[in-house]
């Protein structure tokens, strides 16, 4: 139990009236400090449920999550989440959205320090020019950048990304992936990311956790991506290591654990 983030024998069962459905079973995962781990699986495999449990937004039925040896049972800024649909508050400006979290987490710091820290994080995601715009006035990619800035500004021990680029077009997604890689290289955050994009998982992660299909989904396989960093999108296209990792994930997802609905069709 000396891992930084440790998920132990986690299981989740939802009850709706008389119907119970087991979503997750026997999840064991240890993540080291500074590691970037992606969880990949078909939709409906419970990967978002797993992330929500780590975030503390859901409580697991069995098993525990430990962060630095302490049990996680409520949400908190030490496990900041970047939500799939940005979840910025539409009545606040970009700056105010980030500042809201900063004010809460760094209560002891002075007003000027909190302002500087907010600006620093907006700078990190290149959103300073749009700091006084409201979410309705900026593009989807920019909103997600602000979402990332808001999470980073809380100085989380673990950064949780819930399909952060899922709703974006391919070019914007590539831009943001590069930004996240840069930030990860600079700050060395511990990151747990949910994705269903194989390329994204291989490009960004140190390890890829592949989930089997639900119900009772669990970890099928863990792939270590030992490509050297910094990684560059263009260089990787022809890289045999990259191709091998990609093939392994694809093999897992489409040959051994095809989506049940596809089987039936």
């Amino acid at each position: 139990m000396n891992a930084y983030l440790s998920i132990e024998n986690l299981g989740m069962t939802f009850k709706r009236g008389a119907v119970t459905s087991e979503v997750l079973r026997g999840i064991d995962l240890k993540i080291d400090q500074g590691e970037y781990v992606a969880i990949i699986g078909h939709s409906g495999c419970g990967k978002s449920t797993l992330l929500n449990i780590v975030a503390g937004l859901l409580t697991s039925t069995v098993g525990e999550v430990f962060l630095e040896g302490e049990v996680v049972d409520t949400p908190g800024p030490d496990r900041a989440v970047v939500f799939q649909n940005h979840s910025l508050l539409p009545w606040l400006t970009t700056y105010q959205n980030v500042r809201l979290g900063v004010d809460k987490v760094f209560k002891s710091k002075t007003r000027a320090e909190r302002h500087d820290w907010t600006m620093h994080n907006l700078e990190l995601v290149q959103m300073v020019p749009a700091k006084d715009k409201r979410p309705g006035e900026i593009s989807g990619g920019m909103k997600q950048r602000v979402g990332i800035a808001r999470a980073l500004a809380m100085e989380p021990k673990v950064l949780l990304l819930d399909e952060p680029f899922g709703a974006l077009d391919a070019l914007t997604r590539a831009h943001l992936q590069d930004s996240v890689m840069e930030i990860h290289a600079k700050l060395g955050n511990t990151v747990l990311m949910i994705t269903h994009d194989v390329d994204e998982a291989v490009l960004l992660s140190d390890r890829i956790v592949m989930m089997t299909n639900g119900p009772s989904a669990t970890i099928g396989e863990v792939l270590t991506v030992d490509l050297p960093r910094p990684r560059r999108r263009l260089d990787l296209v022809a890289d045999p290591g990259y191709t091998r990792c990609r093939a392994a994930v694809l093999e897992f997802l489409y040959a051994r654990h095809r989506q049940p609905s596809l089987h039936a069709a």
Partner: protein, 299 residues
């Protein structure tokens, strides 16, 4: 425009481009200014002319039909001539009920203001409660759904019995009329706060108080103002009817009094005033709403 400028710039190098630039910039800007004025004028015409035209047609038809022998209602020309004093001097006060229209309207607006203010406060509070608590919703919602269908005037005899006075009874009728849309819309707004906002609040660990004024109030305000706007409209509808029954100074009783004195022209003038005041009230609430939400209701 830009093509000749470019072909000039290539051979003569540095000198000509500025002159070409000045022409290119100043010409369209002059055009847009003139165009903008023209466009503004046209937009005003487009918005103002049709209602004026329709009004002229309606008044013309009215004049024509009511000028026929045996017409039961006066034509507009007669309305204006016989009520000239009422129109031109709304501020006279000869004591008792013999006052100018301004004083009657003010008396009615005062009642609406008091009743509506109570309805707004109580409605938002109750709506919040019903929106937040499932038990409050289960307990109160069916009762609200039944009570809100009771016509406003049906409350008047009951409130007269309770308050034993006309003025508080009229205010109560306004209150009970305006409160339902405010409660229901506020409750819907609170219940529709997106789960994402709540998750953000939980991750940041906002306290209950911070959650209330940083998430719940801003997320609910657009809904609230929908209810408040419906409420002010209903209040103004109800006050005229209520005042007809309770008597005293007020625009409703003025209409009733005019009817009893067969002053049909007076009634017509007052109806115009009542309509205009109702319109202004609606616009004020709508304006306050957009001011508070900054037009950020939608994402």
């Amino acid at each position: 425009m830009s093509l000749p400028a470019r072909s000039l710039a290539v051979p003569v190098a540095a000198v000509p481009p500025p002159s070409a630039k000045i022409i290119a910039l100043s010409l369209p800007s002059r055009e847009t200014l003139a165009e903008r004025l023209l466009g503004l004028g046209r937009a005003t015409m487009e918005n103002v002319l049709p209602p004026l035209l329709m009004l002229a047609i309606i008044v013309g038809l009215w004049e024509f039909f009511c000028s026929q022998p045996g017409a039961s209602l006066p034509p507009p020309s007669k309305v204006v001539s016989s009520t000239w004093e009422l129109i031109t001097d709304p501020f006279y006060d000869r004591g008792g009920l013999d006052k100018g229209l301004f004083w009657h309207l003010i008396a009615s607006l005062k009642r609406v203001a008091i009743g509506y203010a109570f309805a707004a406060v109580a409605g938002v509070a109750l709506g919040t409660l019903v929106g937040l608590s499932t038990w409050a919703m289960r307990g109160l919602d069916p009762i609200f759904q039944v009570l809100r269908t009771v016509p406003p005037l049906a409350w008047l005899p009951l409130s007269l019995a309770a308050f034993r006075d006309g003025n508080p009874s009229a205010i109560f009728v306004i209150f009970i009329t305006a409160i339902w849309p405010i409660i229901i819309n506020t409750a819907v707004g609170v219940r529709n706060i997106p789960a994402d906002y709540n998750n953000v609040a939980r991750v940041i660990r906002l306290s209950h108080l911070e959650y209330f004024y940083k998430i719940m109030v801003p997320a609910t305000v657009p809904y609230m103002f929908t209810g408040l706007r419906i409420g002010i409209g209903l209040s103004w509808l109800a006050i005229v009817a209520a005042e007809m029954l309770i008597g005293g100074v007020g625009i409703g009783f003025f209409i009733w009094d005019a009817w009893n004195s067969s002053l049909i022209a007076d009634i017509i003038v007052v109806l115009v005033y009542v309509g205009l005041v109702g319109f202004v009230l609606d616009r004020i609430v709508a304006f306050v709403g957009t001011l508070i939400t900054h037009g950020t209701a939608a994402n």
